[in-house]
Symmetry: C3
Subunit: 422 residues, 3 copies
């Protein structure tokens, strides 16, 4: 009683044995590497009772799990449902988008746990993981999902898995340079996730340019039900973005602030997206593609600065600008990219991630440079930018400079990495 198989996920021509082999071998490799390296961090280990005494914690509720688990689950939904369903607005690739997104993300998070673990959680030969590592792995994979949006429909599952392997690796290197070497703040990943993932994907799609794809334009069209499925993706990304930007911020005020800033920026972004979508279309009709995508740019663009004292009105301004930039990008820039630069950006990630990511990096650099003891308080300023240890003499304006350097590094890593992988 074999059930009829759905064809959508298998339009590609790969040999029967290659995908299974790659999946199995890589998973075996993961098991071996996890066996050698990965252990529970102190807050997830059964020795926690002793740890608690050492850390002078009086209650189980002070386990990092309770600070971050709700945000983790929201981020998890964004990666698997949000990114997956957002891409269903393309009629032709609906199911494949959700399914391949599932596959690459499930593989990517394992590799990300290792790569990020080696850089950030490595202690006496072991990677010690906790809920924050799970969030970071999801973040890392988020940048792969973004890049996937650019090449949707052009690659086989195996190519996707290979791209995931390389992109996760480069992501971890880039993140290490930014967070550890440059000591840059980027809680919501404007630079590390969106700028990097966006330009990485665009470079790859440039190299995979296929002129004949243009003829099948009509299959890129959206239909009624696809639009509703895509709105599920859009709305979950939009609603949970405050969790995304606050998930790995410092405990307390920073997480709180990051959520508020993101909430404000996203709200403003919806209004300017609607305004420009209506303005730039014939007869003032709204373009669903704008509503489904550009409304999210506000979340991307406060990714770096959300945990800073951007203030609610500052967030509104950022959201206001990004709704406009992103919508205008969909109308004028995507066609230009394709016709002149031969970059076929299937889901328009240039407008949703790459450009807003750059804006987010710049806003972050400015917000950091403008920080004062007056606004943050003496302790607050040190805590917000972690001006301790080696960095205790760094000033806000110097921090702003390093933030700006972080943008450039992310951009270069993305272009070089994308070229390599492509």
């Amino acid at each position: 009683m074999e059930r009829p198989r759905h064809q959508g996920m298998a339009k590609n021509t790969y040999m029967r044995w290659r995908l299974p082999l790659v999946c199995l071998l890589w998973e075996v490799a993961m098991i071996v590497l996890f066996g050698v390296f990965v252990r529970f961090g102190p807050e997830a280990d059964a020795h926690w009772e002793e740890e608690k005494r050492e850390m002078n914690l009086t209650s189980d509720i002070e386990n990092d799990f309770y600070f971050r688990y709700p945000s983790f689950q929201d981020v998890h939904v964004m990666i698997f449902v949000g990114f997956g369903f957002l891409m269903t607005f393309l009629k032709r690739y609906g199911f494949g988008a959700v399914g391949f997104n599932f596959l690459l993300a499930a593989f990517g998070i394992q590799w990300a746990l290792l790569m990020q673990g080696w850089f950030h959680s490595f202690k006496s030969g072991k990677i010690l993981i906790g809920v924050e590592n799970l969030i970071n792995a999801d973040f890392c994979v988020g940048s792969v999902c973004i890049a996937f949006g650019a090449i949707l429909g052009k690659t086989s599952p195996i190519q996707l898995l290979v791209m995931t392997l390389f992109q996760v690796t480069l992501f971890a290197v880039n993140e290490y340079i930014l967070l550890n070497l440059l000591h840059v703040k980027d809680a919501g990943g404007s630079m590390t996730i969106h700028t990097f993932g966006g330009y990485f994907g665009l470079t790859v799609t440039r190299i995979l340019y296929r002129p004949n794809l243009e003829q099948s334009k009509d299959k890129q069209g959206s239909v009624y039900h696809s639009d509703l499925f895509a709105m599920i993706g859009t709305l979950y990304l939009w609603m949970y973005w405050p969790s995304f930007n606050s998930a790995i911020s410092e405990h307390g005020d920073a997480q709180h602030r990051a959520a508020i800033n993101t909430y404000c920026s996203l709200a403003a972004c919806v209004l300017t997206t609607v305004a420009f979508s209506s303005m730039l279309q014939k007869k003032g009709k709204l373009d669903m593609v704008h509503i489904q995508n550009a409304t999210l740019a506000g979340g991307v663009a406060v990714g770096t600065s959300a945990e800073m004292m951007l203030t609610p009105y500052g967030s509104l301004i950022v959201g206001f600008i990004c709704g406009i930039v992103s919508t205008v990008g969909y109308v004028y820039f995507t066609p230009f990219l394709e016709s002149r630069l031969h970059i076929q950006d299937t889901c328009g990630i240039h407008n949703l991630h790459a450009i807003p990511g750059l804006i987010g990096g710049i806003v972050g650099a400015i917000t950091a440079a403008a920080a004062t003891e007056d606004v943050y308080g003496k302790e607050g300023l040190i805590k917000a930018f972690d001006f301790t240890g080696t960095y205790r003499t760094r000033t806000p304006s110097v921090q702003g400079g390093f933030q700006a350097a972080g943008i450039v590094v992310s951009l270069l890593m993305a272009l070089a990495g994308g070229a390599l992988v492509g």
Copy 2:
């Protein structure tokens, strides 16, 4: 490479420039007003370290963020996915419902942050916001989404935005009268959100009465996939309603209790909805519209009393009654409203929000009046009804009277406000 545009959202005939202009001007106004008035509250401000010392808090986990953020995200999902997708059961308005709901809510939460802020969080010239304000803004917009359910398909986006502006304003005034002047408890908003939003919407739709809408009855029909999309809306509202009713209750037992009461009421409501839906239809078949809507009435009807000692069996009784009332309302009352009173209630909000909201107000008044020191404990009674300061001599029975007054005020404000806006 312009993607084909979906037509569903743009059946209305508005001039090309009006919607963009309204959106942009209003968003600019929001930025200016936020710039003048809105700042981070103490728990989201970078001065939190100093604040913590002053408030004698020993851990970051005592930041209000951790008490309320998970509930906030659930409420957020209810407003944007729940209300949006619930309305997709109408084949004709599917996409428009989700899209316009998105637009009006994104605008409404900004204006609500200001209006509610002036009334409740205004300190030395500034509105200080935190996660509780975000929840309250979502709540306020919830009442607009409810009213939108009554007029779905009759208004242009601009009219919707104007309605949002006025309704949010009146909501904040009504809420101020109830919570501050009458010192009434209404954590889940039976009165402030559902009674107010419901009758507001019904009054507006009465005034916008269009006889010719009756002819297009067939387009109001639902189809298979629309029903599944609508069930997404229904289920998210149903599942997260315990978060809705507990989101802004006092820390500790009150939040805990509110979630349990709501869980029980909703469970009972499903069974009586199914019973009466089956009973009142020819051949005992179930009507999807009942399953999608009346099952939620139990959540509305414990909105006021959920944080009180309603007890689990009390909640079951309320859910039991509301499933019946709401289903009977869909079968007999909605047709009556349309044919006799010329009230075209597109989504049947009278049965889902207005009447259950009234019941909720009454149940709240009775539960408050019946409160005793025996059941609540001496401290518990004072804490539950905030019998402190000016209100320290108020007795439960007097509180019951004020609760009843709150119902009347909400009803009158809704009718007057709806007439004005309509």
Copy 3:
């Protein structure tokens, strides 16, 4: 203005009055029983302030509500959206699956609160409930949803409700034997939920065997949109499974660990599912049914051991194996069950719940037997397996034996109970 009714949910031929009567009478019974027995537990009662002093708690955040409520909401989504939508992959039963799942779960949680309450939360004549009871009720109903997956399309709503009544009762008895008499650990319910629910459902469907169902095989087929709806179910189950397995674990490290183990197991399971699905199909295409179901087996199979020191690589190994076993089961075992054993397993729960549940029980027994003071710490070992009171002399290897006994008991209870109910 009667709205056109959807037919999908009412293909069954039951008399007009029976379903309403059953629903109403049972709900009345629930109200009476709740009235006699159910009260708020100390953490949800208005006497909490006094309780807090007695328990020496310094902050409201130590209320169990804040430890478990986010996980509770995730589990709630899994039961109502996850299980409901997963079953929509069957074109014919799409709406009925979601609707009937809603009905049986709403009834089941009430009866489960009572049954489990009598066994576990009964104090001086009253059942005292809190958020943990809500989670356990959801868990119990989860096992009914699983069994429902086997008999989908064969029963009337009344039969479903009767099955729910009996299965919940037997679930509570079985759970009592395992957790209290055998002192077995089973936080994620590999044995109590999945093994029990799976074999219960399979026994029932065996007894309800209808040869003529085979002819309508074509109606079991899936279609494009059904597949996307089913993916919503799949993904929510997959994403929230870490919450499922950690929801009722001990505060602190155990919850933290359970989430990490489940996350790892699920990720590995996706890769081997894809590998074997592709390998076993002609032309290497992927079968959507595998992607929608077998990817979840990894969560089931760490249900018992997730809160133990299974370690991340141990979890990967379990997920690796289960993806293979489950996929192979769909390809070879489901047809065999139907043709030889006359077990029509509509949704393939044998491969998704029954077998992975057994594996989960075995993995749990091994992990428990292998526990050492070295790995857990002296205190950690006692806390992890609750080796206190009567059980303070129990050793890990003895615990392993009891865990194994728990598997057998669950299996026998399921077969006997299923035969009885069928």
